[in-house]
């Protein structure tokens, strides 16, 4: 079954009215999951991946006379292993060794603009583009050799070490061939790809190229940048977004040892000092002040359900009519999740330098191209004078403080020309000021027919926009703090098929009479933006929980019930694979303590497929949960680096468990009260599962499917299903804490 469904095919399917726009602009926005800015113009819609917007081969690949290859990607290494995976793609299609490639990522001066590194798009956008560009280059090299030898190109082969070889054994190396070749040409759509059966690199577990340095203290992060004359900066702020210090001790801080400058612009204050410790001490000195709230009070009374009382715009996601069907039973339920912190281990950091009228910023933003435009507007420079170079930091999992700190470092650098400025947010600033993952509420009403199949499906989801990445200056927190503020960026939903609050609100299951609505709430009680998987986390949690609740009502096994309603062959395959590996058929029956749960999702109904099963044990005295084992299966199309996919899925499983069991950004009326790891606890070693096994399905040659966010939804759902199986208790409001579970269980042992 084709995984890339064209608009024509979709409309021809009939009976399915889907509200999304396939306008050219929207297509361009699809790079990076539809978040972020408009991105570059669509120039060659007939080409694959990001070649659509950057069709010239030499934007992607340079060949040096000595045979060394440089490959450029607009995507960034976030710790998800993309640098290595893309390197493998390039090496494979060029047919050279990975070691002979220098790989350059996201730099506004050097690489193609591929929008954001987000939305699990990197393999689909960049991987596809690089594969095709490299195939194009290999084709051109082969043709050049053919011309030189006066042979038919079809008879020539490449050797995997940078040579073209003739049937009689004559060889020419790429370097020599490159001399007579111009890559300033646009790619063609049908350059022959290598045969998966003869893959040398793709599909292998090439060790990640960035790991060794990270284990031995090598320079690997933006935090490790050291430059001559570098100064250290810290922001002086209230405890939380929407607060302001009443009387910061600026005079005293300006006189603190080592302080070179104290920058004040409206309520934006930064101290700049010679050493990091001096900057920290000056900041602490300045922060000795009470604060006041500058935004409306936080919704302490009703928490996330406050969203249901705010004005909203209704977006119809699905409205299908398959005739009235008899309903034997109807289930209704509400599900929710709280606001989450990205909780990056390393608080955000950026280095900026204003020199000779040009601003260079080393940033770990997922969108360096958006940064260079938005920051240029903020500081009043033309965009071509602002260069942003992606430099890795700790995992961000969406829009954390990275974008803000990029802008703030730039502002400080403008005030201290010629000196590199290193700005590091503190831990409490990261918790207090970064945009959070959206709190959301869903409501489901589903009915079963007498044939025990779903007869109708009514679904509503309330959410703010997950799409608040700064694309203009007004998107930054600092933009509203300065003397001459910028208008706040208007929150917009991301249209389907990607969606944001409604991401994965459209079930992949074959369900009749679907009524799915997204109540898009523009007003944001807390500052929010994209967090890994966006709305898919709660939407899949809701869908997969309700599937289990329906299966229970119908007295049908949860896996069988899902298979009954799923026609997509690849979805069925991952479900069966996970179930098989887990031993679902012969699984231990619930005994009040131990239980099993199953869940499935195809991320965005366009990305990778993931099914998983888990076995847990509940300590009824405390509500504590032990996760004994998890078995997952993932279909990501042609796996570039299977171990990289496994790593991402394992990580997604653990992160999703942490979200589901522990996490919640707490707040009082005036501020966020999660400010350190004591007040915002996440999963630690003692609660990590006994084992996690991930099977990467073998799908040679199939288009790449983004895998980084696939496990978020199914894991939380499988947990809720396992808890219900173990104890009979159905929990629907995350976090599913021990206290909640204990309260629901009562005293029964």
């Amino acid at each position: 079954m084709s995984t890339v469904v064209s608009r024509r095919e979709l409309l021809a399917a009939g009976g399915l009215v889907v509200a999304f726009s396939l306008a050219r602009r929207a297509m361009a926005q699809l790079a990076g999951g539809g978040e972020g800015g408009g991105g570059p113009k669509l120039r060659r819609p007939d080409l694959a991946g990001s070649l659509k917007t950057t069709p010239e081969l030499d934007s992607w690949i340079h060949l040096a006379p000595d045979g060394r290859v440089t490959v450029f990607s607009g995507k960034a290494e976030l710790g998800q292993g993309i640098r290595t995976a893309l390197l493998q793609v390039a090496a494979e299609e060029l047919d050279v060794s990975p070691a002979s490639i220098t790989f350059v990522t996201a730099d506004t001066a050097r690489t193609p603009d591929e929008g954001l590194t987000a939305g699990s798009h990197s393999m689909q956008d960049s991987g596809t583009a690089i594969a095709n560009a490299a195939a194009n280059v290999r084709m051109l090299l082969t043709r050049a050799a053919a011309r030189q030898w006066r042979l038919a190109p079809e008879g020539l082969r490449t050797t995997g070490d940078g040579h073209v070889v003739a049937p009689d054994g004559r060889r020419l190396d790429y370097g020599a061939l490159a001399k007579g070749l111009s890559l300033q040409v646009e790619a063609v759509a049908d350059a022959p790809r290598r045969d998966p059966a003869s893959y040398r690199t793709l599909g292998r577990d090439l060790p990640r190229v960035d790991i060794p340095a990270k284990l031995t203290g090598g320079k690997a992060y933006v935090q490790d940048l050291r430059m001559a004359g570098m100064l250290h900066a810290r922001i002086v702020r209230g405890p939380s977004h929407g607060t302001r210090l009443i009387a910061p001790q600026l005079a005293a801080a300006a006189k603190a040892p080592g302080v070179v400058k104290l920058l004040q612009n409206g309520s934006f204050v930064a101290v700049i000092a010679r050493t990091e410790w001096q900057a920290i001490q000056a900041m602490r000195m300045a922060q000795a002040s009470d604060y006041v709230r500058t935004a409306p009070p936080l919704p302490v009374e009703d928490g996330v359900r406050h969203l249901q009382s705010l004005p909203s715009r209704e977006i119809v996601v699905l409205d299908t009519h398959d005739g009235d069907r008899p309903k034997a039973s109807t289930l209704r339920a509400q599900y929710s999740r709280p606001w989450y912190s990205h909780a990056s281990i390393g608080p955000s950091c950026a280095v900026a330098l204003l020199k000779d009228g040009g601003l260079t910023i080393w940033s770990h933003s997922q969108g360096v191209f958006d940064m260079h435009r938005a920051t240029a507007e903020l500081v009043g420079l033309p965009p071509e004078k602002v260069r942003v170079i992606h430099t890795p930091s700790a995992g961000c999992y969406g829009q954390n403080g990275a974008d803000d700190v990029t802008a703030e470092a730039a502002m400080i650098a403008m005030a201290v020309p010629g000196r590199p400025i290193r700005l590091q947010w503190m831990r409490e600033q990261e918790f207090g000021w970064e945009p959070l993952g959206c709190g959301m509420v869903t409501q489901v009403e589903a009915s079963l027919g007498p044939d025990k199949r779903i007869a109708s499906w009514t679904y509503e989801v309330w959410s703010n926009s997950h799409n608040n990445r700064p694309v203009r200056a007004g998107g930054y927190a600092v933009a509203q703090e300065i003397e001459q503020p910028f208008t706040k960026q208007e929150p917009k939903p991301i249209p389907m098929p990607e969606g944001d609050g409604d991401r994965n609100a459209n079930p992949l299951y074959d369900l009749p009479n679907m009524d799915v609505r997204y109540h898009f709430v523009p007003q944001m009680p807390l500052r929010v933006s994209a967090l890994r998987s966006l709305g898919a986390h709660l939407n899949i949690f809701s869908l997969e929980s309700m599937m289990d609740e329906l299966a229970l009502t119908a007295s049908i096994d949860p896996l069988a019930f899902r298979l009954e309603h799923m026609r997509d062959e690849r979805a069925r395959a991952v479900m069966k694979a996970a179930a098989q590996a887990f031993g679902w058929e012969g699984r231990r029956r619930s005994d009040g303590r131990r239980g099993c749960g199953f869940a499935f999702a195809r991320y965005k109904n366009e990305g990778a497929y993931c099914a998983l099963a888990m076995e847990i044990e509940v300590e009824r005295e405390t509500g504590g949960i032990t996760i004994h084992r998890v078995n997952a299966a993932i279909d990501a199309g042609q796996a570039a680096n299977p171990d990289g996919i496994r790593n991402q899925v394992e990580g997604g499983i653990i992160q999703s468990l942490s979200w589901a069991i522990h996490e919640e950004m707490t707040f009082d009326e005036s501020k966020r009260t999660g400010f350190d790891w004591g007040s915002y606890p996440i999963l630690r070693f003692d609660q990590v599962p006994g084992s996690i096994e991930v099977e990467v399905m073998h799908r040679p040659g199939l288009p790449f499917l983004g895998a980084g966010e696939t496990a978020q939804g199914p894991t939380s759902a499988a947990l809720a299903n396992a808890i219900a199986d173990a104890t009979g208790v159905r929990l629907r409001d995350m976090p599913l804490t021990p206290a909640k579970l204990k309260a629901a269980i009562g005293v029964g042992a």
Binding site: Q287, E619, G678, S679, Y680, P681, V747
Partner: protein
């Protein structure tokens, strides 16, 4: 006198003494003997009402049964947790209703006898590690509910390690003597001059709550010094501060402050629950509010009368302390100020200043030391104050210097004497046996 006569006299004295000893010993053995109570068939869960089990669950929290009777990472109530005492190390028993290794075959009467008299089902005396000199005050009805709760728990097969007591304390009949001196049975007397809430608090605190077991000093025999009840005591290498008028707090422990502390694990006018107090507040965060209010009322009356410091006046003598303890000032700036200093994130979050810390004001520096060495974990539901342990970062001398500075800066109390020595001792005692 001639030596032969002396010798003869001595032999007679020895013989008499021996005879007396044997007589006393026999009387004692007879006096200490308790009958075994016959084992019963393990009661079915349905033998108890839901209401009784639910009440028992609350009582178990108020008595903190699971805190002592659960080992680290072990099944709840299945025993095995070590308790270090000056007399050696005892291991908590398995009180799940397991037939072989727990209390599965204990009748209600056997359970009540254990709680009231400190006697095991088979007649052996129990060590007062089980604070039966407090549990003896619990009413029959409550003991019945507690029994219902325990007997409906999940049975776990687990045998605790054998006790490691100093010879000859392993000889249980000796405990009869201990009980003669220290076990005063009977109900907690109601005080008609006090409110119902106060009396409820008294009943809970003196009985199941066994607060005096930690917060009272003990004599050489290990019994509580009743005359100095709540004058402060020790628990697992920490100090249980005085809960009487000699409590060193900077701000008065009002009923409200006590309630907040016991319920949430932190009082904004004092500090966070740490060390062995953490599991207590974890339990109290789950019981009905009224019970915690009652306990707070009871202890507020004991603590009241302490010298109140006017709210708002907080001691901070930074310059003086830096001059007196320059080494400590430097260490504090690098190790502590990130959380406890000016402009630190905790301040904006309304966490209490060190100037309000009772531990810094106490004549006994033990808790201040243990907080620094061991750190503090969030006491309630895993979320709240979290302080790192400094045991690996700071030497004993450095801990002493830092604390001396903090005491000088945040209190107007005299310096702690021989602090480094006390730190060394506390570090030893704070590690698990």
């Amino acid at each position: 006198m001639n030596r032969f006569l002396l010798f003869a006299m001595r032999r007679r004295t020895i013989a008499t003494a021996l005879a007396l000893l044997v007589l006393v010993g026999t009387i004692a053995l007879v006096a200490t003997w308790r009958p075994s109570i016959a084992p019963i068939a393990i009661p079915k869960v349905s033998a108890f009402t839901q209401a009784s089990v639910e009440r028992g669950a609350v009582l178990a929290k108020l008595g903190d049964c699971a805190v002592c009777h659960t080992s680290e990472g072990g099944a709840p109530l299945a025993g095995g947790r070590p308790l270090a005492t000056p007399f050696g190390t005892l291991f908590a028993t398995n009180i799940t209703p397991d037939r072989q290794t727990g209390i599965g075959v204990w009748s209600r009467a056997a359970f009540i006898r254990a709680m009231r008299d400190g006697v095991r089902r088979d007649g052996a005396h129990l060590y007062p590690a089980l604070p039966y000199e407090h549990f003896t005050h619990v009413t029959d009805e409550d003991l019945g509910d507690l029994y219902a709760f325990l007997m409906t728990r999940r049975p776990v097969r687990a045998t605790p390690p054998p006790n490691r007591l100093i010879f000859p304390l392993g000889f249980r009949p000796l405990l009869a003597g201990w009980k003669l001196l220290f076990l005063q049975k009977g109900q907690v007397k109601s005080d008609p001059t006090k409110t119902a809430e106060w009396n409820r608090g008294a009943y809970l605190a003196e009985g199941l709550g066994h607060y005096a077991a930690c917060h009272s000093p003990r004599n050489l025999a290990g019994g509580e010094e009743r005359a100095r009840a709540y004058a402060g005591g020790v628990a697992e290498g920490w100090r249980a501060p005085a809960l009487d008028a000699s409590n060193p707090a900077a701000r008065r422990w009002t009923q409200e402050a006590l309630y907040t502390f016991l319920r949430t694990g932190i009082s904004p006018d004092h500090s966070a629950a740490a060390g062995p107090m953490a599991p207590v507040v974890e339990s109290l965060s789950t019981v009905p509010e009224e019970d915690v209010q009652a306990i707070a009322t009871y202890f507020a009356s004991k603590l009241g009368g302490g010298s109140p410091v006017a709210p708002g006046r907080v001691v901070e003598r930074t310059a003086l302390a830096a001059a007196a303890e320059p080494a400590g000032a430097v260490l504090f700036a690098g190790a502590c100020a990130g959380c406890h200093g000016v402009g630190a994130p905790m301040t904006a979050q309304q966490r209490p200043s060190l100037a309000l810390s009772s531990d810094l004001r106490d004549a006994d520096p033990t808790n201040a030391i243990q907080s620094v060495l061991q750190g503090i974990e969030p006491p309630v539901a895993g979320r709240g104050p979290k302080m790192p342990p400094f045991a690996a970062s700071l030497t004993d001398t450095q801990v002493a210097a830092t604390l001396a500075y903090a005491r000088a800066r945040y209190t107007d109390r005299a310096a702690w004497p021989k602090l480094a020595k006390t730190v060394r001792k506390a570090r030893r005692e704070g590690t698990q046996p």
